[in-house]
């Protein structure tokens, strides 16, 4: 029950925003903040109350929707989704705080943001294929509108491209889901489909192809990634937080939650290919990021690289790798949100995002610059920060399963370090080249409020990774057993 | 009377096979299709469609007379078809009139306000 309440609480925000017709900007901002805080509090409560036992009956809920086809409203939390469930709630709150660059139509902005939050929370709690797909798609239109209305001058083609790509992917995926459900029952409950007993190997293969294709578009794996860059670069900062923090994880989470455990034999032949996609993502992302002149584009491509580690961890099929992948989803969400927000701050203060025009920020913006450095170090996978743990586990898992791909991924880390250090040298240190930069001030308290929690979490999870890993361990072991046992 | 002539007269009196009617119906239908495709004048196109419907009716009545177990019910259906065709003509000419009033022509290729 508490899960359902958490998922649908954003509706309260939606209604509130519709009611606050004549309220001033301040009221709107604060009420949105208040509403966004509630799911986060609820998730935190769940963590401390049920942390060791997510299967508790008070967290799950299920009733039949279309009984003749075994479609039902089934929600519940498990270790695979909990981290992202938490992150969705957290990043929504951060996005509300970080929405200082949104000046027009603030109410509509928050309304749409809450719809997106509902979809994201739902995806990570859904225990039914159809319900999963519905929540998956519910995030789509809000994101389209967020980019299309509040983005920069290039927003409209970016928004529609984003929509068409991901809609194509998800429709193909839906066809796979429906085939999977109808051929094995009909039954659409994820829990009872694990291992997918009744399906033959051929049927599993036939169903796995559309599902994998759809999910890889969403991730995006490299040849299918062209929607991502435009939409990242043209979005407003707070949308970026959601776009990079949560949206690609819908794809990777789908791989871990559905493709692997439900179709072990069907996915198995594709695992090396997924690992190869991961490596391509890592190396391609690093090289292209190196060539970017735009700071935001650089961060976007670094995201593509990180998603490669997640793919590699998933493809490994062993406990270590999947553990790393599940955790990397969360850590990537933390540091990419951090980086995007700081880039937004820098762009707002200096009026440029071009790396060549920035420089010497450490002197003028010690806090923002320092945290940018922290984020970049996290992205490099420096020990002590959370990303190190997850990335290390992903690579080790990948190395065990696929030595070649694992080695190449380790090389990718070096490439990543190169472009990130290059960026830091130019932006933070370096000489001050523009008068605007010379007169800029440091991030204000509101902005700090948006980035400090992220930085803290990166540190805490880097020192105590078991906080997260203990929760996800049982579920990960289950997945690994299914995929390994086939 | 020479036997050939007798045989010829017998043949003339013999009952016709069903195909004969069906083929006449098919050809008449084909002519109707032809007219409906190539004529510009909407009223002539109506006439051609009436030809098509009559061809179908001929086929129907031929079946009614030849099919062993149908009990001639096809003739009853033919009456229904005639009534439907009459109703179509009534509405059709009314619409042709309305088009003529607004465009001063009933040539189908000149009725082209809408495109795409």
């Amino acid at each position: 029950m508490i899960t359902t309440i958490t998922i649908f609480f954003p509706l309260v925000g939606l209604i509130l925003m519709l009611l606050l017709k004549s309220a001033d900007e301040r009221t709107v901002r604060y009420s949105a903040l208040g509403v966004a805080a509630v799911p986060l509090l609820l998730v935190t409560y769940i963590y401390f109350r049920y942390g060791g036992d997510l299967d508790a009956s008070s967290l799950t809920q299920g009733f039949d929707w279309v009984s003749s086809l075994g479609i039902g409203y089934r929600v519940g939390l498990d270790g695979l989704g909990f981290g992202m469930f938490f992150l969705s709630a957290l990043l929504t709150l951060i996005a509300v705080v970080a929405s200082w660059d949104v000046r027009e139509n603030l109410r509509q902005y928050y309304t749409i943001l809450f719809v997106a939050e509902l979809g994201m929370l739902g995806v990570f709690a859904a225990q039914d294929l159809i319900l999963f797909y519905i929540f998956f798609e519910v995030t789509l239109i809000p994101m389209y509108l967020l980019v299309g209305i509040w983005g920069d001058e290039n927003r409209r083609p970016a928004a529609i491209k984003f929509f068409i790509f991901t809609f194509f992917g998800s429709t193909v995926m839906l066809a796979g889901f429906l085939a999977l459900g109808i051929l094995s029952g009909p039954n659409f409950s994820i829990e009872t489909l694990i291992g997918s007993g009744p399906l033959s190997r051929t049927a599993q293969l036939a169903v796995a192809v559309p599902i994998l294709f759809g999910l890889l578009i969403k991730v995006p794996a490299v040849p299918l990634h062209s929607w991502l860059l435009d939409v990242y670069v043209s979005s407003p900062t707070s949308t970026n937080v959601m776009l990079s923090g949560i949206l690609p994880k819908l794809g990777t989470y789908g791989l871990i939650k559905i493709a692997l455990p439900l179709l072990p034999q069907g996915v198995e032949p594709f695992l090396p290919i997924i690992a190869a996609f991961g490596v391509v993502n890592i190396i391609y992302g690093a090289f292209v990021a190196f060539m970017q002149t735009d700071l935001k584009a650089l961060v976007a491509y670094s995201s593509i690289g990180t998603l490669g580690f997640i793919l590699l961890g998933i493809a490994s099929g062993n406990v270590l790798g999947i553990n790393g992948a599940v955790m990397q989803q969360v850590t990537h969400g933390l540091y990419s949100a951090l980086l995007f927000i700081i880039v937004g701050i820098i762009a707002a203060r200096t009026g440029t995002r071009r790396i060549s025009e920035l420089g010497g920020l450490a002197a003028r913006m010690p806090w923002a610059g320092g945290l940018l450095a922290l984020g970049a170090l996290a992205a490099m996978g420096v020990p002590g920060l959370a990303v190190f743990v997850s990335e290390f586990m992903s690579i080790m898992g990948g190395f065990v399963a696929f030595p070649v791909q694992g080695t190449l991924a380790a090389v990718g880390i070096l490439l990543g370090a190169m472009y990130l250090l290059h960026m830091l040298r130019r932006v933070i240190f370096g000489p001050i080249e523009r008068p605007a930069v010379a007169e800029t001030t440091d991030a204000g308290p509101v902005e700090m409020a948006a980035i400090v929690p992220l930085a803290l979490l990166l540190l805490v999870l880097g020192i105590f990774p078991s906080l997260l890993i203990n929760i996800q361990q049982p579920a990960v072991e289950l997945v690994a057993a299914v995929i390994g046992g086939s | 009377m020479p036997p050939q002539a007798q045989q010829f007269l017998d043949q003339l009196n013999a009952t016709l096979p069903l195909e004969a009617y069906l083929i006449v119906g098919a050809l008449m239908f084909g002519i109707g299709v032809w007219g409906a495709l190539v004529r510009r004048n909407a009223v002539v196109v109506f006439m051609c469609i009436e030809l098509m419907i009559n061809a179908v009716n001929l086929t129907l009545v031929a079946f009614a007379d030849y099919l062993p177990n149908a009990g001639g019910a096809g003739v009853g259906y033919a009456v229904l078809v005639i009534a439907v065709a009459a109703a179509e003509v009534a509405v059709g000419l009314a619409i042709a009139l309305a088009v003529y009033r607004s465009r001063k022509t009933v040539n189908v290729d000149e009725i082209n306000l809408m495109k795409g």
Partner: protein, 184 residues
């Protein structure tokens, strides 16, 4: 029989050709009624004299007259050139029609119709009446269809009246538009 058949068939088909090929619309209408008469003759041969009577009354009589009225209301002075009565796709239309007619006729001939024999039609008017009421072994659905047809005719009359009727000062005839259209 065969003589009558050949006579009726050539009358029907030639008149049908006449409908398509006449330059004058009125001639088309007269050819059409000739074709309908031929079909009525077939109905007599097919043991359905009552239906033949319907055919003559409704088609040769009523429909032809209505169409002639329609022609009177909707025609401009006649065109002289043959080509101008046809649409642009005259040849493709011709071949499509030839193809359709030939294919249909071929399929009809392909079927084995040995089990059929003539003489099942309702020779008497009362037989047709019984069929239309759906009694005495005729499909009972007729009793419903007969009612539906009457509704259909009523609705068609309403539709025809409402579409063709116009009140003054309304609609598309703005002053001047007539002259403009005709001169063009």
């Amino acid at each position: 029989m065969v003589v009558a058949f050949i006579f009726l068939a050539s009358m029907t088909l030639l008149c049908a050709m006449g409908v398509v090929l006449s330059r004058n619309v009125v001639h088309s209408a007269l050819f059409m009624s000739g074709s309908f008469l031929g079909v009525a003759g077939f109905f007599v041969m097919l043991n359905s004299p009552a239906l033949a009577a319907f055919q003559v009354l409704i088609y040769v009589g009523a429909v032809t007259v209505v169409i002639l009225f329609g022609i009177m209301f909707t025609q401009r002075p006649q065109v002289r050139r043959f080509g101008s009565i046809l649409q642009r796709q005259r040849w493709s239309g011709f071949f499509v029609a030839i193809g359709v007619g030939a294919f249909l006729a071929y399929m009809m001939g392909l079927q084995n119709w040995d089990y059929t024999e003539p003489g099942n039609g309702p020779r008497e008017v009362s037989g047709l009446g019984e069929i239309l009421l759906g009694v005495n072994g005729a499909p009972p659905i007729f009793s419903l269809l007969f009612e539906v047809i009457s509704i259909l005719l009523l609705v068609a009359v309403i539709a025809a009246i409402v579409v063709s009727r116009r009140k003054t000062g309304e609609g598309i005839d703005r002053p001047g538009s007539d002259r403009e259209e005709v001169s063009r």
